[in-house]
């Protein structure tokens, strides 16, 4: 495990320090180290996109990850940003989450080209940055998407709106994922290749000190192949969602409502999440309900699962947080169960540097 981490760190540092003489380079990073044990059911799928799977023996890999971010600036207008991550769920293989060139068109507008996180859900583009939220991981029933990145273009507009911070992001791209982790796992290890083509999406965010609003919409074409069989060939898919968060004094309220549809395949899925937290000193106990429900269709396809989570985050200092969480998942799917009912106890530490 550590060998992979150090190899990746070393490779990046070598690449960037070789350019450091010409450009200003900044390094930052994050790590999550968690342990967990499923107390009901043979398996507990805690992290869908990374296929972080616990069983009834204590495991240390499913929610653990290390990330390094490097940014090098060649001028006021031009920057190169790379984020490399090693997930325990992927045996700490090195993966590139971000690798893009950022061009500052003016003070409020920037254009990015390269590889980025696909910003579908509220936490999608900082899903691996555990320090930024109070759970061990964002609620699993909401975060079931199998494509997490895209290669393409992204236009970001961040205007001046008084006390409010606003961001509008239009993006275009494509992602081809050979042997997709999640789908291959769900297909009993039959390799599943997934492509999302002609991705076009838009995200609008508005926040002040108390409130956060986010709207997201994405359209793309899906190509899916299981083994040698093409299941979906350029089928249109639509995703949209809305998030609202409020932090008033010691209270925190977080919410997300999302909808996914592939109407040609008669697939319609709704997900929702509601969470309450209350800050007591440096500790935030929280409770969360998350739900995924697929509209039942003829033949098969009735994925339906929900989770109640209780947990606490304790801030040791400005860069380190301890977390503990108990999840109780009910899997109501009959023809499309995921891994069945399950309970999970997980605990660990998130830090940033």
């Amino acid at each position: 495990m550590l060998k992979h981490v150090f190899t990746s760190l070393f490779s990046i540092v070598v690449i960037f320090t070789s350019t450091a003489a010409l450009c200003e380079t900044k390094i930052s990073g994050f790590a999550s180290m968690f342990a967990g044990i499923a107390s009901k059911g043979d398996q507990f799928l805690a992290d869908y996109p990374n296929t972080g799977l616990y069983d009834d023996d204590i495991s240390f890999a499913p929610d653990s990850s290390f990330g390094v971010q490097l940014k090098t600036r060649s001028s006021d207008k031009l920057e190169f940003i790379i984020q490399l991550i090693s997930h325990g769920a992927h045996e700490f293989q090195n993966e590139i989450d971000w690798a893009y060139i950022n061009y500052n068109i003016d003070s409020e507008l920037s254009l990015q080209m390269g590889r980025k996180r696909l910003p579908l859900y509220f936490y999608s583009d900082f899903y691996d940055l555990g320090f930024a939220y109070y759970w061990v991981r964002p609620p699993s029933d909401n975060y079931t998407w199998q494509i997490t990145n895209y290669n393409g273009l992204s236009l970001v507009y961040e205007p001046e709106l008084g006390h409010w911070d606003a961001s509008f992001n239009l993006y275009l791209g494509r992602e081809d994922d050979k042997e997709n982790h999640l789908l291959t796992f769900l297909a009993s290890n039959t390799p599943v290749d997934e492509s999302w083509k002609n991705i076009i999406g838009f995200v609008a965010e508005l926040s002040d000190d108390i409130f956060e609003y986010r709207f997201t919409i994405m359209f793309s074409q899906l190509h899916r192949q299981v083994g040698n069989i093409v299941l979906s060939d350029d089928v249109g898919q639509l995703f949209y969602g809305f998030s609202f968060n409020a932090r008033i004094d010691q209270f925190t309220f977080l919410s997300e409502l999302n909808h996914y549809e592939r109407s040609n395949d008669n697939i319609f899925v709704d997900t929702s999440m509601f969470s309450f937290g209350y800050k007591v000193g440096k500790t935030i106990p929280h409770i969360t309900y998350s739900n995924l429900k697929q509209k039942q269709r003829a033949g098969n396809g009735d994925e339906h699962h929900y989770t109640v989570s209780i947990g606490a985050r304790h801030n040791l200092n400005k860069t380190t947080a301890l977390k503990m969480q108990y999840d109780d998942t009910t899997d109501k799917g009959v023809t499309t169960p995921v891994v069945g009912d399950g309970k999970l106890l997980s605990f660990g530490v998130d830090f940033i540097f």
Partner: protein, 141 residues
């Protein structure tokens, strides 16, 4: 005489209080940073690019006095400490913004500014006046 003594006392008391409670934006004495729009100061300390200013200034967070830091966040950033730190973390790891350095010692901060003429920070006026290597760019509140 009593009246002039009383007026003099009032003057020095108000002068003392304005120095004690006035905060300023500072940089190294040898920097050529000009006054900034307060909206641009807010954008800089959020890791955004300024709109009204063409200068490329690097913000430094001064945490040497927790009250000054909280007042800065309230008066200039319109944020609480919790909200500000949440926004900064997201900006660094979502948008690739530069991490903003912070100092909890005025002397170390002054030393850093002296070596980095394009860096700016905030502090109480009385602290700025006690640092010979710093210059006051503008009053913040």
């Amino acid at each position: 005489m009593l009246l002039s003594f009383f007026c003099g006392f009032l003057f020095s008391a108000s002068s003392l209080s304005s120095h004690h409670f006035q905060a300023v934006l500072v940089s190294a004495k040898n920097s050529n940073i000009n006054e900034l729009d307060k909206k641009d100061i807010r954008r800089l300390f959020l890791g955004l690019r300024p709109i009204h200013s063409q200068q490329t200034n690097i913000p430094i967070i001064n945490t040497s006095n927790p009250n000054t830091y909280k007042l800065f966040l309230k008066n200039i950033m319109f944020l609480t400490e919790r909200g500000y730190e949440r926004k900064l973390i997201k900006r660094v790891f979502r948008q690739g913004a530069d991490k903003i350095e912070s100092f909890d010692s005025i002397n170390a901060l002054a030393q850093h500014l002296k070596q980095h003429p394009n860096n700016i920070t905030f502090m109480m006026k009385k602290d700025a006046l006690s640092q010979p290597d710093l210059k006051i760019i503008q009053a913040l509140w």
